[in-house]
Amino acid sequence: MAAQISPMRARLASPVGVTTVTGLGVVLLLAVFGPILWGTQAEATSVADRLLGASWQHPFGTDELGRDVLARVLAGTRTSVLLALGATGIAVALGIVLGLLPTVLPRVLRRMLTGLIDILLAFPWLLLALFFSAIWGASATGAMLAVGFAGIPAFARLNYTLASSIMGRDYVRAARIVGVGPLGVLVRHVLPNAAGPLLVNAAVHASGALLSFAGLSFLGLGVQSPEYDWGRLLREGIARIYVNPMAAIGPGIAIVVTGLLLTLVSDVFATTPRRGALIRNGLRGLRPARRAGSMRAASASPLELADEAAVVSSARELRIAFPGADGGAVERVHGVDLEIAPGEVVGIVGESGSGKSITAMALAGLIEQPGAVTADELRFRGVDLLAPSSPVSKRQLGLELAMVFQDPLTSLNPALTIGRQLTEAVEVHEGVSRAEARERARQALASVGIPDPERRLGQYPHEFSGGMRQRAMIAMGLMGSPRLIVADEPTTALDVTVQRQVLQNLRRAQALTRTAVLFISHDIALVAGFCDRVLVMKDGVVVEQLAADRLLVDAQHPYTKALIACVPDMTSDRTRPLPVIGETGAVRRAS
């Protein structure tokens, strides 16, 4: 429990939290005591003091009957707050009813009701409020009903969404199975679970209601003279804005400040931080990437040819750091050395967090700020990845380096056709015509076994199945002249039956183009079967490196042995629990 409460405490204690709570307290005190303290002064007319400008005695000036505007603003707090709360109450109460009703209604009625709510939601709040205030006329109660009713669709929609999601949860299903009726489910399960989001939204809603109300009163459709609220005062003030601007600005400030406070409440009490907050708190600046090796870039060029023949990719003392929660840098990869020969298939195994993926990204030169890459050497076929890129190096990397990621749904751009995504690299870097690029793309798709490639080129990723998307990613790598395909868990997100096909496609593509492959996986059995050589990574360090066919026999490091021991085979004792890897990296049998 303590863990659940403390973030809320922390947010309440933050400067914003303290300001919000104090500010709202002041507004509430004013609502209660304002009319008592300043009521008589706000009503006191004085012919001698008519239409005065702002002064020490009357900070906001006086109106045409000589009444002090500041006193009227303070005393008007009660009416403004009460009307806003009343309207919010109407919206919340009826919104809950209309939002929950569809969940217990038969299908046809439910469709009709939610459809109606959706249609109403298309209309701006103010227009709905005007519609209702046309019915109930220009009066304070009329306006309160109008603002309240206008808010119902939004609340009903919110409730319906919340209720539907809660109704789908397992504990509700369980309750229904044991015979709890729909009403019981609503009262006992749905409402308590929806209460949090509802309260937060009610606060936002109250802010909106306050502003709408001020708007209606301002239009003369809300509170009528001699009653007054902030909107009414604003209306009276703006008529004399040349004479005494404070008479308009004063009530305006009251409206804005109260509205802002109510909005902030939702920020403080919302259970999940919003995305904006995450972005703000997330990452602090770090030194830019690419340092160390870049100095050597110029002098290294004569060696390039020699390099090219021997290795495709090379890294020495590769270190990768990311900003930590406290703003400092956290090193995630601690000095990895790796060379990949032409046509070689190298695997990296390790658990999540071992640094295998970011190592692969660094080898492809794709670590972005705020990540910081340092190394004694980091090259791809002679291109220094630590040096600033040139058009020549971009061309080479764009054509010779291919990526296949874990989730093919997110690694293909949903807004572009498969054809466009396949052809663009060769169009940009090789300057081939649209028609030729398309023909090549057709061949590439055919070579990974996608039927009817001509039609498929014009389709979007969402029209492809998961396995086909991954094969399209592989085909994308075959468009240029690949020398290295970095495949980061290429089969993890796929069905087991599709996994084999995709691996076969990758294997065939490798045989066809004689490209090297860097294959990242947490599955040591898969890696052992697919690769020539295997690197085992743990906590950002390569702990072992050996030929794939020697993996089962020669593994020395306890972590490697542990990984191997965790894979069940035909001889595994099925009566014993599967082994797990302990804190130290050694095998432990749960008993």
């Binding site: 227009l127 519609f131 502003l211 239009l219 600005i249 997330g282 972005e368 990526m403 990621f405 690694s411």
Partner: protein, 301 residues
């Protein structure tokens, strides 16, 4: 769409029947002679059965007849035709300004603060946007009038017809939505830039022009346009207040005065036009979205 339109027609028809008490008495006042009340009632057709009234209403509507104003005794349709252009110009110009302004601002702030650089700029932008979203346009209008018209005397305080008189109303209407849209563009772009397909695009080493315009932009346009559509309908509503503040002879000033005067035929007419504008805007946004995003279709939305 057809369903929405049907509901709108029924709702506008219903206004006069939902009025608590006798609408005709409400218009004419309690002391009006019974004979006048009866005559007005039959003029409005209120003495006929409800279904007949609705049928007559719909038939007249199809012929472009929206009834006769109780105040001016002129056809409602004429008044609307005369008042609508000002509202359309005001909302249209404001939307264009807001959209044209928001896109580059959002893109620029997102790219410049990406990955935690220039945190102060990010914070300052969020704070400013937060404030501009909370300040309703009619208060912004009051502030602008005070600053530009009262203090500096550079722009007219109210009126219609002269381009200079358009500046303040448009600013008041456009600034809030512009800030909001810029923020949406900002947040969406940051999310899109972190997507794996952007890494795929970078791995192709495309020029940054292509990376941003071809790969990033279409993916954030969907949400920006959805918000933009809501923004536009919100602006139509916002014109009501802005027209009142700046004394612009548009639909907003018309509906406010007719609600105060209980001129029901006129109210029904203006509500109908507003609703039709909102529905038309929604339809346009849906069509544009459909042409941009391959995944969305009218059937789903």
């Amino acid at each position: 769409m057809a369903v929405s339109l049907g509901i709108v027609v029924v709702a506008t028809f219903a206004i006069i029947h939902l009025v608590p008490g006798d609408p005709v008495r409400a218009v004419l006042g309690p002391s009006a002679p019974a004979e006048l009340v009866a005559r007005t009632r039959s003029e409005l057709g209120l003495d006929q059965p409800l279904l007949v009234q609705f049928w007559n209403y719909v038939v007249a509507l199809v012929q472009g007849d929206l009834g006769t104003s109780l105040q001016t005794h002129r056809p409602v349709a004429d008044t609307l035709a005369q008042r609508a252009p000002a509202t359309l110009v005001l909302a249209g110009v404001s939307f264009v300004i807001a959209a044209v302004g928001a896109l580059p601002i959002g893109l620029a702030t997102a790219i410049s603060v990406r990955s935690g650089r220039r945190r102060w700029l990010d914070l300052a932008a969020s704070a400013l946007v937060g404030l501009l979203i909370v300040v309703p346009n009619f208060l912004l209008a009051v502030g602008l009038v005070w600053l530009f018209a009262v203090q500096w005397h550079v722009l007219p305080v109210a009126g219609w017809g002269d381009p200079a008189q358009l500046v303040l109303p448009v600013l008041a209407l456009a600034i809030g939505p512009m800030a909001y849209l810029a923020r949406i563009v900002h947040v969406e772009l940051l999310a899109v830039l972190d997507a794996t397909y952007m890494t795929t695009a970078r791995s192709k080493r495309l020029p940054s022009r292509l990376i941003y315009l071809r790969h990033a932009l279409p993916n954030m346009l969907t949400s920006a346009l959805t918000i933009g559509g809501l923004m536009l309908t919100g602006m139509v509503a916002g014109t009501v207040l802005i027209e009142t503040i700046f004394a612009i002879p548009g639909l907003g000033t018309t509906i406010v005065s007719s609600i105060t005067a209980k001129d029901y035929p006129m109210i029904q007419g203006v509500v109908l036009v507003y609703a039709a504008m909102v529905l038309a805007l929604n339809l346009i946004v849906d069509l544009v979205l459909m042409s941009i995003d391959p995944r969305s279709s009218l059937a789903e939305g």
